[in-house]
Symmetry: C2
Subunit: 536 residues, 2 copies
């Protein structure tokens, strides 16, 4: 059963090694273990304090008004969401959830909502980390969540053109399983893969770990159907077009404000003949940066580059357990010039056997110029095996008394190090205001010829209460968002904007850009049926 | 000096070999050599029939109202444009041309036009083949052409991020020369490279011959400034962003309807260590199709794929002259299994020496599976040397009595052959209605994993008069456009929509899509200052 107040399936329990807990305690001080609220108590609270407004004249046979369904569709996976759920202090949940099973039912519900002055919030796998699913503050209309996860069929597969059409609510593992049966893959593997939906990836412009080969959502989203409150936008899956504005781009990043995405055609690939992940150490952050920049700018055909800074590298090694093996590895790396301050780079190699061999030779030739030391596939296999398990550590950390948040941006080369420093310092300073410490570390998860993403993780102690915990989190998040846009970065490289990042959108888009987005919202949704407060 | 009624510099004279003329005469019948109108006569006609309305209260110091300047900025390179110019029957030219030298002057002219009820048509290198530059039929306002080609400076180069910012009017060769001085290239080489402008490439979503490596305009356009009638849209050159709609995409394909693009930041690359073009024959069209599809779907890192069908292959060999060498080559190919019906594929290999060697081995390994026979770099070098010269042949063909038109689309795999047949037949049937023949042939200029472009050439005889020639051309073009959209193709893969293709845009975009584009036009340009009739 999926956890209602944490990540993933409740049969999977991540464990922190004693040395990992010792390490964090040294960094952050002794934590207090929290006491989680029970699902029953929270549901009772919803029943009592927020009775559904869907009843009587506003009843609809497709809408489920049970508290647990409402609760599960109103929260994502942001730290703010967790704080509310774990402490049992839920703010606003939707009045009901519909699980449409056809495009016609989505249309019916949209029309019904428009006719009855109901706000609609579309929802996929409920993995948002930027507050997409909460009803907007101050909203007085009843709120209907449209949970699309029963729309999960592969409805068309054009093997020759490698185009697959799915209903938009299909979740990552289900999508890959349906494709794998035919020998194909989409290759989109964000960390939230296990629960995130295809439609969610499109409307938030998601990027997977191997986007270097398979592309960001922009690259593999070929077309589909968006049901707007008044119309139906159908986008054919052309390989390319120079015929005016590309309407795919009006769906990508629309975050449920222009319409509900019901059908998605994606560009797929045959399952690769071979795949390898190789761990490479470099002597310093600057050497690592220079190496990944060179790999990207020479268009070396890798499927992934992921460069951890020195603190993340150290943290990874510490949290891995296996202190004996790590000590041996560090001795070897020291001999090879990678001592204190060393950084860990993972590269992915995917394709035919010849491509993998060629790309590996090209890549290792380049990283060696920067002092890189390959450790072969040993660490890479470990990373790949745990690529979707790492996120379960958040559960274990919470239970040990620690909060974890991650923040991500992207910036042209030249600004990377300043951005990393600004973000990590902002987090530390924000918590210092509470007399708290913060363990901050960073990796570049996506590398482009003109720049990279910057993905930072912050571990800090829970407060004694929901309010205290929330205050710490919000201070940290606010400080980091301000630092990101001040440094010229985007407010989101891969998570979307939601409500939490909406105040910062204007720095990137400018007044004219915001006005254009508002005009599009006004065009597609003049009555505000989808005015969830996400994006704008 | 640039030709006013044909392609390119008038010091460059393309010649057709006698056997080429014989070949065409066999295909099409004996042509009649036309008598071109003189520039002086056409300018006198403009002076007499279309006096400029910019004078008196409507005078502006930046506006040139001399007939030749007005003429040169009102026509592009479509066959319809040529017919008007060569026969000296010009329809509507603009009332004046301004050559702004700064962003401030563009703003001043836009504001002046808005205040004085003047229509503005932006213009770059005047290479449009879809009628962008003509004043719209029925327009009663005075028309100002904004020729941006004096805005040509490289204003910023971030070597580390490989981002170059240019003023938008810079032409291809000037842009490449400015970059090459710093060791970089944009790598965007459409056939119109010699005269096309950077801004034009962006607003029409241009695609160059080596887009497989360097990307389409969508891929290398990183950001810039669009002056709309009421505002200024500034787009920062982020490497990637998941923050809502991507405003770059509101500039790409806007064809001057949302604003005037004044500054463009592009993603550039270091000049490659090595570049090769290799000519490969395959035994049949089906074998060629299967080979390029496999190369694309395996992501073999080529910089170009260009597959000619059998008639284009034959025509290329016939027009090349060198009958003796060709006969020898054909004997050799016959022994290797490529006889009648053989097709010619050019692949481009660009990058480091290692990348070129690896990609060549991978590519040749794949094409061999489909019966491909490499002829090494011999034909490839010839192709590369003449890549921008071929378009000069249009001049020589016209002077010999033949018109040439090209039409292009893109479609998912599975539809390619039906599309080629439909287009070529539509052209032949349209001309049969006039008792004329048509020599039609096709190549795939751009290949993607999910499909390809289809680029067809039509050679047919001039009529005795402008009207007769126009009637033939328009019948051909109309029949082909209808065939393209009926087959599910886009109305433009690389040339934009302009006025000529605007009637067909709705098939691709749908009613909801057109309404959204119209809403955006209404938002950016409520007064219709830029209502040129292009796109919509």
């Amino acid at each position: 059963m999926r956890r209602w107040n944490g990540w993933g399936d409740d049969s999977i329990q991540a464990h922190l090694a004693p040395e990992a807990l010792d390490f964090l305690q040294q960094q952050l001080g002794q934590p207090k273990r929290p006491q989680d609220a029970s699902l029953e108590a929270v549901c009772a609270q919803i029943e009592r304090d927020q009775p559904s407004r869907f009843g009587g004249a506003l009843a609809h046979p497709l809408i489920d008004i049970r508290p647990e369904a409402r609760l599960r569709s109103s929260y994502g996976q942001s730290l703010g969401d967790w704080i509310q759920l774990r402490f049992g202090q839920v703010a606003r949940v939707s009045d009901g959830v519909a699980f449409p099973e056809s495009r016609a039912q989505v249309r019916e519900l949209l029309d019904w909502a428009a006719a009855h002055n109901v706000l609609v919030i579309p929802c996929g796998g409920a993995t948002s980390v930027v507050g997409h699913l909460l009803a907007p503050a101050g909203e007085t209309r009843p709120v209907l969540t449209l949970n699309l996860t029963r729309l999960r069929a592969l409805t068309d597969l054009n093997r020759e053109a490698q185009l697959a059409t799915f209903e938009a609510g299909v979740l990552g593992p289900d999508l890959e399983a349906q494709l794998r049966a035919h020998g194909f893959t989409l290759g989109h593997f964000p960390q939230s893969f296990e629960y995130a939906s295809l439609g969610g990836w499109v409307v938030t412009r998601s990027s997977g770990q191997q986007s270097l080969r398979y592309g960001r959502a922009e690259n593999w989203f070929a077309g589909g159907t968006l049901l707007t409150p008044g119309a139906e936008l159908n986008i054919p899956p052309l390989p390319a077009s120079a015929a005016g504005p590309d309407l795919r781009e009006w769906v990508l990043g629309s975050e449920g404000r222009f319409g509900v995405l019901t059908d998605v055609t994606v560009r797929v690939t045959r399952l690769p003949e071979e795949e390898r992940f190789i761990g490479i150490f470099l002597p310093s952050w600057d050497a690592g940066l220079a190496a990944v920049r060179e790999l990207a700018q020479t268009k070396t055909p890798l499927s992934m580059m992921r460069l951890a800074n020195a603190v993340e590298t150290l943290t990874t090694l510490k949290l891995a357990g296996h202190a004996g093996q790590i000590a041996w590895l560090e001795r070897y790396l020291g001999w090879r010039g990678c001592g204190e301050g060393k950084v860990l780079l993972f590269i992915g190699l995917t394709g035919s056997r010849a491509q993998v061999a060629n790309a590996q030779a090209e890549a290792l030739g380049i990283v060696r110029q920067f002092g890189g030391v390959s450790t072969g596939q040993m660490l890479g296999k470990k990373w790949a095996a745990k690529r979707f398990a790492g996120v379960y550590l958040r559960n274990a950390l919470w239970e040990a008394g620690y909060m974890v948040d991650t923040m991500e941006t992207a910036i042209p080369w030249g600004g990377t190090t300043a951005m990393v420093n600004a973000i990590e310092n902002a987090g530390r300073e924000a918590l210092a205001g509470f007399g708290e410490r913060c363990h901050a570390y960073t990796h570049l998860s996506h590398v482009y010829s003109s720049g990279s993403s910057v993905y930072s993780t912050f571990v800090f102690r829970l407060g004694a209460t929901a309010e205290e915990s929330h205050a710490r989190w919000w201070a940290l998040k606010t400080a980091i968002c301000k630092a990101m846009v001040a440094q010229g970065g985007t407010i989101s490289h891969q998570h979307g904007v939601g409500k939490d990042h909406a105040p910062y959108l204007g720095v990137e888009k400018g007044a004219a850009g915001l006005a254009a987005i508002d005009a599009a919202i006004q065009h597609f949704d003049p009555k505000g049926v989808l005015a969830s407060g996400n994006l704008r």
